[in-house]
């Protein structure tokens, strides 16, 4: 499915307006991402984004009030895509938990790799408590909850299969923190093909799963 094909929405008027709106949003995001990766998150102006997306700057503000809103939209799209991708990966569904979790983080890294600078900038922004991107902000809450629930479902399956003990809600939170650590590592990873991150991800997940299973690190 190409990014521009949009599923018809449920509701009384599935009509043209909603489809148009989505198309414009995606056009703006596409233009923005191109500019971000060329000029950087901070240097790219809303004016340039609007010009590249072939809309008026005023129209741009109707959709995204700030670049932070744009970033949030980007992550929402990515999450949506991620969940769709994971559902259709039949082999992965049967894979051991460490491979599933590896695949999820790695897929995310592959997707964001063309926009490394943008992601780095977003991370710095997210550290400011007032930012919409902050993990504490209400604006990012929905996105966060959806992601945690997605991970929670995967962990629950593993719990039921006896792969790991019952973790409850703590599991997805800890995984989320691990993912943040991995992305931070990835942003600073200068090894060829960022292979150090691959090793960290693989070993980290395997060791964590094994330690959880044993209920401790026994030497």
């Amino acid at each position: 499915m190409s990014p521009h094909q949009v599923k018809p929405q449920k509701g009384p008027r599935p009509g043209k307006r909603a489809a148009n709106k989505e198309r414009t949003q995606h056009a703006i995001l596409k233009a923005a991402l191109e500019l971000f990766s060329k000029k950087g998150f901070h240097a790219a102006t809303t004016k340039e984004i609007a010009r590249k997306a072939r809309i008026a700057e005023g129209t741009l503000f109707n959709y995204f009030r700030t670049k932070e809103d744009l970033a949030l939209f980007f992550f929402e799209q990515e999450l949506e895509r991620m969940m769709g991708w994971f559902r259709q990966e039949k082999r992965l569904q049967r894979a051991p938990l460490p491979e599933k979790l590896f695949a999820i983080i790695h897929h995310h890294l592959e997707r964001i790799s063309p926009y490394e600078e943008f992601i780095g900038a977003v991370y710095l922004r997210a550290l400011q408590p007032a930012s919409k991107l902050s993990p504490l902000s209400l604006d990012s809450l929905e996105l966060k909850v959806r992601y945690l629930r997605f991970i929670r479902n995967i962990l629950t399956e593993a719990e039921e299969a006896g792969e790991i003990p019952q973790l409850g809600d703590m599991g997805p939170y800890v995984f989320g923190l691990f993912q943040l650590a991995v992305i931070t590592h990835w942003l600073h990873d200068s090894s060829p093909g960022k292979e150090n991150t691959l090793a960290l991800l693989d070993r980290g997940l395997k060791v964590a799963t094994s330690v959880l299973k044993k209920g401790g690190w026994e030497w």
Binding site: E99, P192, G193, E195, N196, L198, A199, G204, V207, W219
Partner: protein, 445 residues
């Protein structure tokens, strides 16, 4: 267990910290983690490690005394001393990187080549079919329809190895741990392992052996697909053949086993005398045996060059009878222990004598005058035990030159292989063909 050693966990924890046994930072860490982490066969492996002779090794591993070199040392010097399963275990430990699941293998392939396997191959098997040095091997079919083997290295192995050695050299490691291993040997082992992490180097080795081994028509060496090869990924033609265990399973005839044994010995001496380099890793997994007795060579990460004076030394030990005079013996001693042997002269001479004895058993007719075709039965456990004894006598003297260590490892590996084959080989015939002609000129007294 825990009560008996209450502070054990903490001490070990500290020791691990000291060795930098971080998640990605230590190659040795991988080895130890693998031993304890991997579910499949872990208990069985642990049980095997508990067996008498290997207990000591396990303790060494657990206390992490001079880890990497310890492994290298044990592998190289005591290969004939240990029970076979312990040897397999150690060989495994040294060479094995953590296994990669399909998602990681695919990701690492892309990290190395910039493209996913399915973008460059017509077919690519997501699961590996064999473990290889520092990585694993996948079957694939190229766009042109050629069957290939794709070796993928576990990510960041090189960094991990470098970290290990940095720590081993650092002042924080007690001298007790690293002190008994000469720096030269440490350097040598690090260089070798690092060299093995460069698959481009291995690819060049493959080409070299492919070319130079052409005169031996029973040897198969793969071809390299250079456009699908990088430092971390090696694509080569797929060699048919079975590993020794499988090959022996349908009980091949004695004459076929003899033929293969003869060929292995020939291959060894041909490399020594014509290539001045050895496909040095005697791990049985590095040979593939075809039903007709052809021998496929895989894994060229560990090639050892043989210096000319070294060959001369072997020749003297093999053929000179009795031992050469004192002056020559001193020369041999310097060849084995380096220019300033840190070993008692008497001891050194005893070792020379033992080495001489060793060769006499493998090449009983080396002093000439023997009719051609008299075969030595490598299947005889007494022969191999005798070799092991002498081998251990030599190995006890630790300050050997590194080249000698690796040479010994290769040679003992070969004889162990012949033993497993149960082959009867006319060793003198091989010697006569490759080693003897130049060594005994007609004018020799």
């Amino acid at each position: 267990m825990k009560a008996a050693n209450p502070s054990g966990a903490l001490t070990r924890g500290l020791r691990l910290g000291k060795l930098g046994l971080t998640l990605t930072g230590s190659y040795l860490g991988y080895q130890v983690q693998n031993l304890w982490l991997e579910p499949g066969g872990r208990d069985e492996r642990r049980r095997r490690l508990n067996q008498q002779a290997s207990r000591q090794i396990r303790e060494e591993l657990q206390t992490l005394k001079g880890p990497v070199m310890k492994l290298g040392q044990m592998l190289s010097m005591q290969s004939a001393l240990l029970p076979e399963e312990a040897l397999a275990e150690l060989a495994n430990l040294q060479m094995r990187a953590p296994a990669m699941h399909p998602t990681l293998a695919r990701a690492q392939f892309k990290a190395a080549l910039g493209k996913h396997p399915e973008e460059v191959f017509r077919e690519f098997e997501p699961n590996s079919f064999a473990a290889a040095s520092l990585g694993q091997v996948h079957r694939a079919v190229t766009r042109q329809g050629d069957r290939v083997a794709v070796k993928i290295q576990y990510p960041a192995i090189r960094t991990a190895v470098e970290n290990d050695f940095k720590l081993l050299r650092s002042a924080t490691i007690p001298g007790r741990i690293s002190g008994h291993v000469p720096t030269a040997l440490l350097d040598e082992i690090e260089q070798r392992i690092l060299k093995e992490t460069d698959y481009l180097n291995e690819a060049r080795n493959i080409e070299l052996f492919h070319e130079k081994l052409k005169p031996l028509d029973f040897v198969r060496v793969p071809r390299v697909w250079w456009d699908l090869t990088t430092e971390r990924v090696l694509t080569m033609s797929f060699l048919k053949g079975a590993h020794l265990g499988e090959w022996l399973a349908p009980r091949p005839s004695q004459s076929l086993r003899n033929l293969v044994g003869h060929r292995l010995l020939e291959l060894f001496w041909y490399q020594m005398t014509h290539l001045h380099a050895l496909h040095a890793d005697p791990h049985p997994g590095n040979y593939l045996f075809a039903p007709d007795g052809a021998i496929g060579l895989v894994d060229f990460g560990c090639i050892k060059e043989v210096p000319p004076e070294f060959l001369e030394l072997i020749r003297s030990l093999l053929i000179g009878d009795p031992l050469p005079d004192d002056r020559q013996q001193d020369r041999l001693i310097r060849l084995i222990w380096g220019p300033q042997p840190a070993v008692n002269n008497g001891v050194a001479r005893d070792v020379l004598k033992a080495a001489k004895e060793f060769y006499k058993r493998v090449y009983p007719h080396a002093d000439g005058g023997c009719p051609r075709g008299v075969a030595l039965d490598f299947g005889d456990p007494k022969l191999i035990q005798g070799l092991a004894q002498i081998g251990s006598q030599c190995a006890r003297h630790k300050l050997l030159r590194p080249e000698w260590v690796f040479y010994k490892r290769a040679e003992l590996g070969l004889y162990n292989l012949l033993h497993r084959l149960g082959a009867k080989v006319a060793t003198e015939d091989v010697l006569r063909k490759y080693v003897r002609p130049e060594a005994t000129p007609a004018s020799a007294p």
